[in-house]
């Protein structure tokens, strides 16, 4: 699309004005449509099904309204537990992430034999969904918020460590060089050269992960790992859609409030 613009100044004598890559583009779209048709055949997902399902969705929404406001005091406790799980999970995950992020960064003179395996471990951890972590920890530690907290510790660890080591790699090398020139050891370089530069980013990623974790914690209860999810599962199982809608509404409000607060703090940090 942009090719004629970019080639024209290079060869002004014979500008190539014919539209390039048209066949390639067409082939790309054809492949995409073929894949889509194959996909919809494979899973029986067709627009027809959507039209059939729409009235059912309408009746579901009707049953969800009006929300059962009297249920609000009952769900307030589990909702707060959800937030507590998210706070502790994010913090512990973030603390664990600090040493690993330092090991992974390529500009601190850490041997590649250490940093590459550490990075691979981070990639592996991030492919495992948080609900699966939660289900495994529920099996080990029993049903309750502790299992959910541990699941979020692992999930946050993977995310924060990756974001932070990329931030460390992007810091200004000047102070580090100056410090090593005057004979600082590695610990001193990290304490006084790396930490002051990377800390605002780390805190910002911590808050961002906290936002993600509040959302994740609200569904951890589905596998028995504490929080509001258990009540949501129960309400839906009993076909109490008016209760389900108040749970969803409260989650919405809490998440919006936390997002808003966290955005303000992050803007102040960076």
């Amino acid at each position: 699309m942009k090719t004629p613009v970019s080639t024209a100044p290079i060869n002004p004598a014979a500008p190539d004005l014919s539209p390039p890559h048209k066949y390639k583009q067409l082939a790309g779209w054809l492949v995409l449509f073929a894949v889509l048709i194959a996909c919809s055949i494979r899973t029986d997902v067709t627009p027809y099904q959507l039209i059939v399902g729409l009235p059912q969705m309408g009746s579901l929404l009707q049953e969800m309204f009006p929300p059962d406001w009297s249920y609000l005091p009952t769900i307030w406790g589990p909702m707060m537990e959800t937030v507590q799980i998210a706070i502790l999970g994010t913090t512990l995950g973030g603390l664990l992430a600090i040493p690993v992020a330092l090991l992974c960064a390529s500009n601190l003179g850490i041997s590649r034999f250490v940093s590459l395996p550490a990075r691979m471990m981070l990639n592996l951890i991030r492919t495992i969904p948080d609900l699966l972590f939660a289900a495994i920890f529920v099996a080990v530690f029993g049903i309750g918020p502790f299992a959910g907290m541990l699941a979020l510790v692992f999930f946050s660890f993977g995310l924060i460590a990756k974001l932070t080591f990329e931030a460390i790699e992007a810091i200004d090398p000047g102070p580090l060089e100056a410090m090593s020139a005057v004979g600082a050891n590695r610990m001193q370089i990290i304490m006084f050269g790396v930490v002051p530069q990377a800390l605002p980013y780390f805190m910002s990623y911590l808050l961002y992960t906290f936002e993600v974790n509040v959302r994740a914690a609200s569904v951890l209860g589905l596998v028995g790992a504490g929080g509001i999810g258990l009540l949501l599962d129960r309400a839906l199982g009993l076909f109490r859609y008016d209760r389900a809608s108040i749970i969803v509404l409260l989650t919405l409000v809490i998440v919006l409030v936390i997002d808003y607060g966290s955005t303000i703090i992050r803007r102040k940090l960076l």
Binding site: T43, D44, I87, V140, F141, G144, S218, V248, T251, D259
Partner: protein, 272 residues
């Protein structure tokens, strides 16, 4: 932190005191928040069975159930992974199509009144708030369990974030071509077709691919609530504590996620 240092360099003793008080207040608030959070995690101590359970989990992960990879008849790993892949492809495409009008609605440079784009932004952030699992549960109640509910859940949930990214792309376009077309008498549709779309489409596709990478991670867990894909055999294996099977499914998920990341990264580099 930054505020503290900048206030301290102000050299007046009042601001130093102020920043110290502020620092103390912040520290107290943080301590209070953590004190409150620890109350919520009533830890009952490690259960007596924890040791044996962990051992069997480790055993299962070290000896994955290879026979589950391909079973000629019925549900196996490869079919589950294929379903997961298909659900996330369809979900991403649904989201891409649905979010385009939302993106134009929420862009400040596509409408004259700020109220229009503002309301669009609010709608997008409300959609973004619901976790996709919750959306999936609602759709399962509406259209029954299966892949269809998963596709709809991913499709609707992704609209929130994709719409936001798309509208930011639209807001950042170069106004030159648009103004030139308006000056030469093009109507709104022609402006859209020849000035706006060519600038935004590569970025749109790139964001959709990025969302696809996220969706494939979400799709692996959608089955835990009954919305199709690899999550369905996973939840069965977890319920009967068949750790060998959990191990092979986990391995399959890891391979699928890494492969799709590689392919989508390659396609993205070709587009931009």
């Amino acid at each position: 932190m930054k505020n503290t240092t900048s206030a301290a360099s102000g050299n007046t003793s009042g601001s130093v005191l102020g920043s110290r008080i502020r620092f103390a207040v912040i520290t107290l608030v943080v301590i209070a928040v953590y004190f409150w959070s620890v109350q919520g995690i009533h830890f009952e101590g490690i259960q007596g069975t924890a040791g044996t359970v962990s051992k069997s989990i480790l055993q299962g992960f070290l000896h994955p159930d290879w026979s589950f990879v391909y079973i000629p008849e019925g549900e196996d790993l490869l079919r589950g992974l294929l379903d997961t892949l298909v659900i996330s492809i369809l979900g991403t495409v649904v989201a891409t199509v649905v979010c385009i009008p939302f993106a134009f609605w929420a862009s400040t440079n596509m409408s004259r009144h700020l109220a229009v784009s503002g309301s669009g932004k609010i709608v997008l952030s409300v959609i973004r708030v619901f976790p996709e699992i919750v959306v999936a549960i609602l759709f399962i109640k509406a259209v029954g369990p299966g892949s269809f509910a998963g596709v709809l859940a991913l499709g609707i949930h992704s609209v929130g974030m994709l719409g936001k990214l798309y509208s930011e792309t639209i807001e950042s376009i170069d106004r030159g071509p648009q103004e030139a077309l308006i000056a030469s008498g093009a109507n709104r549709l022609q402006v859209l077709r020849y000035a706006v779309l060519p600038q935004v489409i590569p970025q749109f596709l790139s964001y959709s691919l990025y969302r696809f990478e996220i969706n494939i991670r979400s799709a692996t867990t959608l089955g835990l609530v009954g919305a199709g894909g690899i999550g369905t055999p996973l939840i069965f294996a977890l319920q009967v504590r068949n750790w060998n099977r959990v191990g092979i499914i986990l391995l399959g998920i890891i391979v699928l996620v890494i492969l799709t990341d590689l392919v989508s990264g390659w396609v993205r580099r070709r587009i931009i």
